[in-house]
Symmetry: C2
Subunit: 376 residues, 2 copies
């Protein structure tokens, strides 16, 4: 597992549980945010291109050998305050290249894995800036426990029922083989075409190793692969985007032939424009996800400033990279409309008023969501 | 670098210093003693044979790529209290096998590396059982700072001078090519033959990568490779041995043809016998080291319960495995008298009264130490 130093007590709980369940060896790769910050403060710019692959190749070897992978994700939104974004991008790009082999094990679900949130003080201070840190941490844990069903009398049972329900709906969507999804709520009116060999993902995932797992906790979404050239219409985002400490809000985007041709935001427009300016593929879609308005994250009604949680509050699309798991065949290529890009940015636009229709290749429509809730 | 979680603040200092000196990337593999203990408590016995090589192979790859290696060693003497020794041995044996490739980088000094002590609460409580933990930690740090010259006005200069002096004496010893060392102080009377291609090691080490380093801090010893069949006489240990939480004290050992044929201890005889009972090579010598009585560790005058420090308090030999670095040629084999064994246990026997003579192949004697101090 990977976890920030701050999460050692949780790591110890997970370790005990894993050995009690029969694990042969539990290893934690602790992440140290202070070391990351120090590198940006003191290392030469050119050294940021240096990302040796030894650690990632070691982990890949463990995964090939049958290891399960747990990411205890502690956001540090203020960690890189004041560091020039191009330095961060530079380090991020080289690190991503060095770990591409390892990332395939999870992105293509070759193994069983999961990402779970951990409340860091840095994160809690951002969500509750007016509270003293200890109180902020406590309040954010309460919210995380609620939306992850950890405060249920029987969390494992609750997840089992929730996952079954998502799985059933996923199979229905898969069987329909919709050509296009149509989102409309009076303001937003957006049609998103799906690639022909799209696969719906969500609920539990069966890894190539045969083990079922919930890859993200919480997970309220069913998502698949949009066609990179087939988004058309206008969409109003329903949640702010938290991007590296900046907030982008009140966003309206127009799509034509899959490309975001106009982006207007009352707040943080430059941040979003900058993020999407790398190349054209960054302005095309890599994911489309359905989330009911009644999801616990939505019901909680505040911004977590963390995609892991916030993307489960509303239907959303993502600019940028698509997921291999959202394709029936690994042979689908860019030519068939699968987007390949250096970023993946979730944008929530679902509302309590939103209707979603699935449209078949023959042009027949069928209701999927009505007033924000699944009806299919 | 490798460090216990408890050492994070020191890790951060080292990280800053390394980046200031031009390091491209500083990585810390944090060790979590609680996870080690949990495994022994909860994992099945047979799982202790499981030691995958992925982490060690990853580190080997980093070292091949030119990384330096720092071990921040925090002893946890009470960590495995109550765990059956055969379980510990089982896990130790499989872990050693899995990391043998990595260990060669340091044991054969293919790279620049160092081991430095870190005062854990567990260690401080063992050394000062009558103090409250915070006070014990403070007192032990004071002792560590003193014996590592860290409390000098100019620690780097002090190490530079100390290392130069050790290096000069090492070259003198090397030039003599002694056949035998004779230790005598009125009680101890021991002759230890050296292998023909022995190399004296100590002071700074030039790694195969051309970088000079001090492999252990503190380091007061000059050591080389004894002949496994050529120790004869009687030796009284001058310091207790701390072995996995047990103390072995008042030890007298008799050697014949390199083998410890008699071991008597007033305290903990069984512990020592048990440790050496694995095979015959465990009762033969793998290292002989000269330490002057005036060394700071000796002057401090108490037992640190840690070989990294205590072995620098007095001349010592080690039962068991020899060091590749103590041979001029890698082609020296067991046949030439080099010991190979699963253990390496340092035994301090130097005293303030000890004389050491070097004896040439022709039988000519020359004084090396007189009354505990170097005269050569």
């Amino acid at each position: 597992m990977t976890a920030p130093l701050e999460a050692a007590a949780l790591v110890h709980d997970v370790t005990r549980a894993a050995y009690q369940q029969g694990a042969r060896l539990v290893t934690c790769l602790y992440e140290d945010p202070a070391m990351i910050r120090t590198r940006f403060d003191l290392a030469g710019d050119s050294s940021l291109d240096y990302a040796p692959g030894w650690m990632s190749q070691g982990v890949s070897q463990a995964l090939e050998g049958g290891a399960a992978r747990l990411f205890i994700a502690g956001p540090y939104p203020d960690l890189l305050n004041g560091i020039p974004p191009q330095k961060v991008l530079r380090a991020h790009t080289s690190a991503a290249r060095a770990s591409s082999q390892e990332m395939r094990f999870t992105s293509d679900s070759l193994i069983n894995w999961s990402v779970v949130p951990f409340v860091t003080e840095s994160w809690a201070r951002m969500v509750f800036p007016d509270l003293v840190p200890a109180e902020a941490v406590l309040r954010l844990w309460e919210a995380v426990f609620e939306v992850t069903r950890a405060d249920c009398p029987d969390p494992v049972g609750a997840w089992s029922r929730h996952t079954s329900s998502l799985n059933s709906r996923r199979e229905i969507l898969q069987a329909r083989r919709f050509d296009t999804l149509h989102f409309h709520d009076g303001r937003t009116d957006l049609r998103i075409g799906l690639v022909e060999g799209h696969r719906w993902v969500g609920g539990s995932t069966r890894g190539a190793n045969g083990v079922d797992c919930v890859c993200n906790i919480p997970s309220e979404e069913l998502f698949t692969c949009p066609h990179k050239d087939r988004a058309d219409g206008r969409v109003f985002l329903s949640k702010p985007l938290a991007i590296a400490g900046d907030l982008v809000d009140d966003v309206c985007i127009e799509f034509r032939d899959g490309l975001a041709v106009s982006i207007r935001a009352r707040k943080g427009q430059g941040v979003l424009e900058n993020l999407l300016s790398g190349n054209e593929a960054s302005r095309r879609l890599g994911e489309i996800a359905l989330v009911p308005n009644s999801s616990p994250v939505s019901a909680r009604g505040f911004l977590f400033y963390s995609a892991l949680l916030d993307e489960n509050a509303a239907s959303h699309f993502a600019f940028g990279q698509s997921y291999g798991a959202c394709l029936i065949s690994a042979r689908s290529t860019e030519k068939s409309g699968v987007n390949e890009a250096p970023i993946h940015i979730d944008c929530m636009f679902g509302t309590a008023e939103m209707d979603v229709d699935g449209i078949s290749a023959e042009g027949r429509g069928e209701a999927i969501l009505r007033a924000g809730e699944f009806v299919l």
